[in-house]
């Protein structure tokens, strides 16, 4: 039965122009999404490059100034702008802590609409918690980005629904099913074969058009073969899931109209409702502490620390005798007190920020535990991980920036408390930031979705086990 099904299914699809239509739609969607994604990546890379170039330019000026100062030449700068002051270097010449785009970042915007991709931690200011809440266009946030992940997660299932909802009902409605059912075949097996053949051809179309589009747009998919295979694997299992649902609906429901409504209902459920419900339940079960209250608490503690700066500095020097040796009341300035208070403040506010972060992690864990309820959530997350734009990637980046911020401040402490000037020779020792992408496997979703699909196919067979041909023939 497979050979004639395979041969004539393709003929019918070609003659009905279905495959051509799908081909055009897929190439258009993939092209537009890839173009959008690549533009975003270009913009991000350009921003990072521009920030780095500016830093380089500033550094060149700073080194020239330091050189002049060290040669005893006169420089036309205000005393508080002189780079021989370590606090000036730590504040006015920060390093760029950038999160460069990964090979497949164009694939999924993920959280990149919410977060900046570079930071310049300074020795003072908002470095304590770092501001990671920047936003781009709220309109874009409202509608989401038209990237490849959007096409795969949201639109591809709609094409599969259009391609598969009436495999059995169309036969019934056109009258060919009675002739088919009179042949020595099992109707369930026949439906399964038809759907798997359609899955095969759609997979060929999707993979060929996707790789073709990536090559046309010079996205270089073959530079990261494991990533490419991961992407293709994710797309295929996600498509298989929707075909498995179509199998269930074809056997269980009835007329083409009812099948279409049922499939669209399932799409709304799996793609829109379940993710939204998971998110809603997560925030209800693990409510986030108010960010406003957190900021207020931080400010109150900051104000308190400022008032007690002298006392804090004395305590700090008592704890750091290596600095106290060079301390004279005459050489103390604002920065000695300020930096000491910041160190204390960081320790004091840690429980507050930890509480906030712990609750966020609980929410994420809760969503992760139930993400299998929606293959859309699973695939979106896997694509985000592949693209390096997942929540966990930004969390990883945030932690690295905070650690670097700490390292940056700590680097200037000996200069400050030893009353040592910053020299040209100290420049090469300045800490540098190198983003370390965490290794995340997005492949765990593949066996999970494969298993779910197989369960759905099995359910289809089980549920229709007692349904004789007559039942299938007469469904309405």
């Amino acid at each position: 039965m497979l050979r004639p099904n395979f041969k004539y299914e393709l003929k019918q699809l070609l003659r009905s122009n279905w495959l051509w239509l799908l081909c055009i739609i897929l190439i258009s969607l993939f092209s537009f999404a890839t173009y959008n994604g690549l533009k975003k990546v270009e913009a991000r890379e350009a921003l990072i490059a521009s920030a780095k170039a500016k830093t380089q330019e500033n550094d060149t000026k700073m080194l020239k100034t330091l050189d002049s100062l060290e040669q005893g030449l006169e420089v036309h700068l205000k005393p508080w702008d002189l780079p021989s002051d370590p606090i000036v270097v730590g504040s006015d010449h920060p390093r760029v802590a950038a999160m460069p785009a990964a090979d497949f970042t164009f694939l999924a915007t993920g959280q990149s609409d919410l977060f900046a991709h570079y930071k310049k931690p300074k020795v003072y200011g908002g470095g304590i918690i770092e501001d990671f809440t920047e936003m781009t266009s709220p309109v874009q946030l409202l509608f989401g980005s038209f990237d490849l992940a959007f096409v795969i997660v949201f639109l591809l299932p709609l094409l599969i629904i259009a391609f598969s909802y009436n495999v059995l009902s169309a036969e019934r409605e056109s009258g060919t099913l009675r002739l088919l059912a009179a042949q020595p075949i099992g109707i369930r097996t026949w439906v399964l074969q038809k759907l798997l053949i359609r899955f095969f051809w759609l997979s060929v179309l999707v993979l060929v058009s996707l790789i073709g589009v990536l090559l046309v747009f010079k996205a270089d998919p073959f530079t990261n073969i494991s990533g490419l295979l991961g992407l293709l694997g994710l797309v295929l299992v996600y498509m298989l899931f929707w075909f498995a649902l179509a199998f269930l609906v074809n056997l269980w429901v009835g007329s083409s109209a009812k099948n279409a409504v049922a499939m669209l209902g399932l799409w709304i459920g799996f793609v829109l409702l379940v993710p939204s419900m998971l998110n809603q339940l997560g925030t209800t079960i693990y409510p986030m502490p108010s960010r406003t209250l957190m900021i207020n608490e931080l400010r109150a503690r900051q104000a308190d620390a400022t008032e007690r700066q002298d006392e804090i500095l004395d305590n700090y020097l008592r704890d750091h005798p290596e600095y106290a040796v060079n301390d004279t009341t005459e050489t103390r300035n604002f920065w000695h007190g300020y930096m000491a208070s910041q160190n204390l403040l960081r320790d004091e506010i840690k429980p507050v920020t930890d509480r906030y972060n712990a609750q966020l992690k609980k929410q994420q864990r809760w969503v992760n535990r139930f993400k299998w309820l929606s293959p859309a959530v699973t695939i979106q997350e896997s694509l985000n991980k592949l693209a390096g734009t997942a929540t966990s990637d930004y969390e990883n980046y945030r932690e690295q920036v905070l650690a670097f911020s700490e390292e940056w401040r700590a680097h200037f402490m000996p200069f400050l408390y030893n009353n040592q000037k910053f020299a040209k020779a100290d420049y090469p020792d300045l800490p540098r930031f190198e983003y370390q992408k965490q290794d995340q496997s997005q492949m765990a979703s593949i066996p999970m979705l494969l298993l779910i699909s197989l369960v759905l196919f099995g359910l289809g067979f089980l549920a229709s086990r007692n349904m004789k041909s007559g039942g299938i023939l007469n469904q309405a």
């Binding site: 050979r3 004639p4 099904n5 004539y8 003659r15 009179a182 020595p184 075949i185 004789k468």
Partner: protein, 238 residues
Amino acid sequence: MITTNDLTKKYGGHIALDNLNLNVKEGEIYCLLGANGAGKTTTINLLLGFIEPTSGSAFINQLNVHENPKATKQFLAYIPENLMLYPSLTAVENLDYFSGIAGKKPTTTALKGFLEDAGLQPEAYDKRTSTFSKGMRQKVGIAIALAKDAKVLLLDEPTSGLDPKASNEFGNLLQKLRKKGVATLMATHDLFRAKEVATHIGIMKGGQLKQQFMADDISLSQLEKAYLNTMDYKETVS
């Protein structure tokens, strides 16, 4: 070839078929006559395994239909009242497809031979069936039976809606198949065609087989009278 033993089908309290006992041997054409709802189509659906009997049993080539649904379908061909084919495929392709899923692999020449035997004009072989008349589709249906080498042919109102010429051609085809030893069960309203092609005729009413005749033992007018009597039209006729 076709046997039913006390075959009964009930839908709730309604008896669609009541203890039907039939036996159609090789080379016989058995026509079931009856009004709508007499149980003709139910009989065919039961023989095809499309529905489960409430009691009794049906056999095709000595195999119980409901115990061996796929095996019995190896032996039978079915032509419904309105036989539909895949409109985007040609006659040869439709025939190849249905033969293929039945497990046969005839060559293109053989396929065309079956279509020729079924009386389809050669110029229609490679035309898409979307343009075919009902008569042409019925011929492809007969070709499917030939390609499948069916021993049993089940026909449900095959001549309804056919013009007299097409209906006559269809009758001739059935005779050809009869000579090859095919056992045919045909449900029809058409007394004239039944008398023309059948070897045996049965009249059904309310799910019961009320009368049976050897076709050669009865004239068309006697058949008509017997039919109307069975249908309780006695007063009108007299």
